[in-house]
């Protein structure tokens, strides 16, 4: 009986509440177009996610959209990763200029390097 009560208390604890979010199933380079195969659903504690994270019911909005930033396998998908303005051939130059690196991990490493270099 006590165990049942404890289970009930734990299950009703708001800090244990979970939500389903969209995560990347593989590394994706900046400029890549996301497909349904590139994303999956995972459960995570509600307190760890904000409205910036893409939820499964909105997943269709990011499919066929281009990424502005590299994403690594397992990363939660954030709305801010995606282009907000209509991409033109001209502003695709931004990706070519900024997103150096042979793969997504190299692109993230490059971004880390930029952040590290500005440290005095």
């Amino acid at each position: 009986m006590r165990l049942l009560l404890l289970a009930w208390v734990l299950s009703s604890d708001p800090s244990k509440e979970e939500v389903t979010v969209v995560v990347a199933t593989r590394d994706l380079m900046a400029g890549e177009t996301v497909t349904f195969d590139d994303i999956a659903q995972e459960k995570i504690g509600k307190r760890f996610v904000s409205a910036s994270v893409v939820k499964p019911d909105s997943a269709s909005y990011i499919v066929n959209q281009k990424l502005n930033y590299p994403v690594l396998k397992g990363d939660l998908m954030y709305w801010s990763f995606f282009e907000t303005a209509k991409a033109t051939q001209k502003n695709q130059r931004c990706l070519a200029l900024a997103a150096k690196g042979a793969n997504a991990a190299a692109q993230v490493a490059q971004a880390r390097q930029v952040a590290m270099l500005h440290v005095k």
Binding site: V23, A30, G31, E42, I44, G45, R47, F48, V49, S50, A51, S52, N68, Y69, P70, V71, L72, K73, G74, D75, L76, Y78, S80, F81, E83, A85, T88, K90, N91, R93, C94, L95, L97, A98, A99, K100, G101, A105, A106, Q107, V108, A109, Q110, A111, R112, Q113, V114, A115, M116, L117, H118, V119
Partner: protein, 269 residues
């Protein structure tokens, strides 16, 4: 008559005169107060029905006195009659209608608007394209030469009780902000979702002073790919934001110039 009686009579007379004067003055004041808003003021009204788009003639107008409280700035006063005679009406008017200035606002001619848009479209598009090229060139120049080779990302930290410690946004952060220490905090994050994109505790020095390339909500974990050099941005997001700003500004400027030139040309016809 005794002087005492005379004095009393004079005093009484003076009192009667003063009280009478005050009473007359008070009554006049009350009359004026009662008429406030009810004094008549002339306005122009329609003497005949007029269809929308018809030209207003002097014969179609009449003068009517109405209480001043019903007269406002929208009414055309008889003194301004000559300003509206010969003008096309923008709405149908019926005999007796007070004439309002708004009756002479003509609806925009959609055909003209379409012609204007068509006339300025090509130049506006071209101005936008040029602005994008210039903005990206400037961005590339400001970013400097090629970045030095980056070392591989460090391994993930060891979890403790299924959690790792990450740097998160303490408050809502707009894209483009240069991050300050007080805008950041460190918190647990499920190790199951730990990737090498996340900025883990101990890297605050690298985050403070960096420019955030994308907006974040409170509690969102910092990610390396969303950080940028504050003075010399490199990120695609920053580049695209610059390009978008430049194109919007250039298109707005060109469209305004084109529309003004179109209006001038139309006016000259």
């Amino acid at each position: 008559m005794k002087p005492v009686v005379l004095g009393a009579l004079a005093g009484a007379l003076a009192a009667v005169l003063i009280v009478g004067g005050l009473t007359v003055s008070y009554a006049a004041k009350r009359r004026a107060q009662a008429r406030v808003g009810w004094n008549l003021k002339p306005i122009l009204v329609m003497a005949a029905d007029l269809e929308e788009g018809a030209v207003l003639t002097e014969q179609a107008l009449a003068k009517r006195d109405v209480p001043e409280q019903f007269v406002h700035g929208s009414n055309v006063s008889p003194a301004d009659a000559e300003k509206i005679v010969g003008v096309t009406t923008g709405a149908p008017l019926l005999a007796g209608d007070p004439v309002l200035w708004s009756a002479f606002i003509t609806r925009p001619d959609q055909a003209k608007i379409d012609a204007c848009v068509e006339a300025i479209r090509a130049d506006t598009d071209a101005a936008g394209e040029e602005a994008v090229t210039r903005a990206i060139d400037a961005f590339a120049q400001n970013a400097g030469g090629p970045l030095p080779d980056a070392p591989p990302l460090p391994p993930l930290p060891d979890p403790k009780d299924g959690m790792v410690r990450v740097i998160v946004a303490k408050e809502a952060l707009k894209d483009g902000v240069v991050l300050r220490a007080e805008q950041l905090s460190v918190r647990d994050f499920p190790a199951k979702f730990a990737t090498r994109s996340l900025v883990y505790a101990g890297n605050t020095d690298a985050v403070v002073g960096a420019r955030l390339a994308a907006a974040m909500e409170p509690g969102d974990p910092m990610m390396w790919q969303l950080l940028d050099d504050a003075a010399h941005p490199h990120s695609p997001g920053a580049c695209m934001a610059r390009a978008a700003e430049a194109v919007a500004e250039a298109r707005k400027r060109q469209a305004a110039q084109g529309a003004a030139a179109f209006a001038q040309k139309e006016g000259a016809r």
